[in-house]
């Protein structure tokens, strides 16, 4: 039985802040950050947007493309490191909002930036096991980055949702693979608001080791080479890392460029590689094969190879496309507004 993606959806907030504006406030050199991180701007969630609302938006888009009755969805798994509640699930709120309750299994996942692909991995596996007809995996974050830290230039907001099934697929899952080790490169402890990271340690021994190992293991398992694949999508903490990883693996800019949203979107953490995949599916043609590799600190990568089916053309325009959302009338905010939106200003009532 072939299983895969039946519907997919993306959501990106419209507000943006430019690297120059953040650098201005901290007295930093904007060109250095832009060049060093490969970023120009990032998305900013407004006060009424969080992981739950963004997940609902993406889930609705996925349902439209899947063309199913949401009540038939057997599971919703939301991966995020910014679930609005420490205790109380995001999944139940989303399930209720899209009309998927009450016969449904919900869980919130956390694995730094890998939580989204993790939700996808489990949802896909439950369908493959025959446990349910439809299952949904979501990656969403309103990412945190401490004021003035390098992360503040990239930490952004967005979500992507996938409905997995065995019928009317838009992309068949040809192979999965996962690669994990105990690598403490980035973490946030209980009661801490902002994550900490190991500086340059987040590069070679963390992101690159796991992303490259996962991609190589996945391609070996699937017996494919980069030239056999039309597209490649990687976790994108900035604009530079995924491009470097892709080129080291032998992918061309033409293969990885479409799914590389971070230069103008920023790092949507758990939403990052799932959102990149939506941007690829928006333009993919039947028969195209796609490699997707996520990365989460701590650390590990999930890998998938998808093969696009004939049905893709029928669903691409059924919901807002990802790059269109990214480019559609962005509203640029100054740092003060951004600080207010992100709850960085302490108010009397808090």
């Amino acid at each position: 039985m072939e299983v895969g993606i039946r519907g997919y959806g993306a959501y990106i907030p419209r507000h943006r802040i430019r690297v120059e504006e953040i650098a201005r406030v901290w007295g930093a050199d904007a060109p250095t950050y832009k060049r060093g991180l490969g970023l120009r701007e990032k998305s900013v969630p407004t006060p009424d947007q969080d992981v739950i609302t963004m997940s609902v938006e993406a889930a609705r888009h996925a349902i439209r493309r899947a063309g199913i009755d949401p009540v038939k969805i057997g599971a919703i798994y939301i991966g995020s490191e910014s679930h609005p509640y420490a205790v109380k699930p995001s999944g139940t709120v989303v399930a209720e909002a899209i009309g998927a309750t009450p016969e449904i299994h919900c869980a919130d996942f956390e694995f730094a930036c890998k939580a989204g692909s993790e939700g996808m991995f489990v949802a896909l596996s439950l369908v493959k096991a025959g446990q349910m007809e439809f299952a949904m995996g979501i990656g969403a974050d309103t990412s945190q980055g401490a004021p003035g830290d390098a992360l503040e230039y990239s930490a952004s907001a967005g979500s992507a949702a996938y409905i997995f099934a065995s019928t009317q697929l838009v992309a068949v899952c040809e192979e999965t693979y996962a690669f994990m080790t105990d690598t403490p490169d980035f973490w946030r402890r209980e009661y801490q608001f902002y994550p900490r990271h190991g500086g340059r340690f987040t590069g070679e021994p963390a992101y690159f080791k796991h992303t490259l190992s996962c991609a190589r293991g996945l391609m070996k398992k699937a017996k494919v080479k980069p030239k056999d694949l039309r597209w490649a999508v990687f976790h994108q903490p900035n604009g530079k890392f995924p491009a470097k990883a892709a080129e080291e693996l032998g992918f061309t800019a033409e293969q990885y460029g479409q799914g590389l949203l971070s230069p103008t979107l920023g790092n949507t953490y758990s939403g990052a590689s799932p959102l990149g995949l939506t941007a690829v599916l928006d333009v993919a043609k039947p028969g195209d094969r796609i490699l997707m590799v996520s990365y989460g600190s701590g650390a590990g990568s999930d890998g998938f190879i998808w093969r696009v089916t004939d049905r893709i053309a029928k669903v691409q325009k059924l919901a807002p496309q990802t790059r269109a959302q990214l480019e559609d009338r962005p509203i640029y905010v100054d740092y003060g507004t951004y600080a207010k939106f992100r709850g960085k200003i302490r108010k009397l009532t808090e």
Binding site: D29, T32, G36, G199, R200, F201, E204, P205
Partner: protein, 390 residues
């Protein structure tokens, strides 16, 4: 005093050695030096390390590392003089052998700098400056060296491009050093266009944060041929001098007086002058530092250091090659190890084993290792032992 020779050298690949601990990095280099010398024991050892405490939370390195090497109960001494810790550790080893206290002595240097983040590394390094009068005012080393550069530029007309030329030259040399951390070519444009650190210094004007170690084995010159198959390299001079630690208290911010004093002593001991040198390994922690050092060593007249790299004078193939190893800039700068790595390079050059970066017919080599903005300097001169009785 006995004449002293270096009979063994060891060093590992430098860089961000995430997978290796402080002690393992050190032990690899120490064992390599012992193997190179071909000796089966050492009588004493010295460890140059600037801040095991702040970088990895480990002090008491003399005992720790003697044990790691499996050579306890030999005396193990840790030596600290900021970035000159390695050079000074070698000098202590040299003095011990020369004085007849020990015969076979291991001189080493080590630093593991990447277990802490950039801020903590900057703090650890800043302890080499004057805490009360410099650090409390908020300045760190890039800022101090930037001020030295400004004085030199204003007074002598040294240009931004000339600073870049030092980095270009040393990275070109480093291309021939397979143990270098940043084995890559850079152009003057890349240096001048890299991230601003402390005006006028840019990222590529600065030596990197590095994990690494180096080690050498010393013994009396007269025992060298009996103990080791390696060609002996004679320690022709060992000199150490200090200066005011705070930059603003110096008579001249663009004069490295400690280097000038140590060099004068060293030339006198060796009975040679700067014109006799075949090459130098100097402390280019920032590009401006190399310019100041070559003036203080008398390789060029005061104020003329700026043009030396760009003109080819100090490049491999030039009149006096400076930093054939790639220098701190390309090779890396694990602070406590730097002085020992310079000596390793001098020994390789004088043995004729420096490969593609070999200075032809090298006979005299000088190493200059300094702490802070030059508050301490250690200068050594080495001579290729010609097999004649001294």
């Amino acid at each position: 005093m006995r004449e002293v020779a270096v009979i063994g050298v060891g060093m590992n690949k430098w860089g961000e050695l995430w997978e290796k601990s402080h002690r393992r990095i050190w032990t690899e280099a120490a064992l390599a030096a012992v193997d190179d010398a071909g000796v089966d024991r050492v009588d004493a050892m010295y460890v140059g390390c600037m801040s095991g405490g702040l970088f990895v939370g480990q002090e008491h390195l003399g005992a720790l590392l003697a044990d790691e090497l499996g050579m306890g109960p030999i005396p193990g001494t840790r030596v600290e003089s900021a970035c000159a810790s390695g050079g000074l550790a070698f000098r202590q080893a040299y003095l011990a052998v020369a004085a007849g206290a020990h015969d076979i002595v291991l001189a080493t240097g080590v630093e593991k700098m990447t277990d802490v983040d950039g801020g903590a590394a900057t703090y650890a390094l800043s302890t080499a400056a004057d805490q009360e009068y410099e650090c409390y005012q908020g300045i760190t080393f890039p800022g101090l060296y930037a001020m030295m550069a400004r004085v030199h530029m204003e007074r002598y007309g040294t240009t931004r491009r000339q600073l870049a030329d030092v980095a270009v030259k040393n990275h070109a040399h480093g291309m021939f050093n397979d143990l270098a951390q940043f084995r890559m070519k850079v152009t003057a444009e890349q240096v001048m266009g890299s991230a601003a650190v402390a005006d006028p210094l840019r990222l590529l004007d600065c030596s990197p944060i590095t994990d690494g170690a180096a080690a050498v084995v010393l013994c009396p010159l007269e025992m060298a041929r009996k103990l080791s198959k390696q060609p002996a390299v004679r320690v022709a001079a060992s000199a150490h001098a200090t200066d005011r630690i705070a930059l603003h208290e110096r008579d001249d911010m663009a004069d490295l007086a400690s280097t000038r004093h140590a060099a004068a002593l060293a030339y006198k001991q060796a009975g040679i002058g700067p014109k006799d040198l075949s090459f130098c390994e100097v402390h280019d922690c920032f590009t401006i530092a190399e310019i100041l050092v070559i003036e203080a060593l008398g390789l060029v007249p005061r104020g003329k250091g700026g043009a030396a790299a760009g003109s080819g004078l100090t490049a491999l193939g030039g009149t006096i090659p400076v930093n054939p190893s790639g220098g701190l800039k390309s090779k890396g700068h694990p602070v406590g190890a730097t002085g020992i790595a310079q000596i390793r390079e001098a020994v390789l050059q004088l043995r004729g084993e420096a490969g593609k970066r070999q200075v032809p017919k090298a006979r005299w080599g000088l190493t200059q290792n300094m702490g802070g903005t030059g508050a301490s300097t250690v200068v050594h001169i080495f001579e290729r032992a010609l097999g004649r009785k001294r």
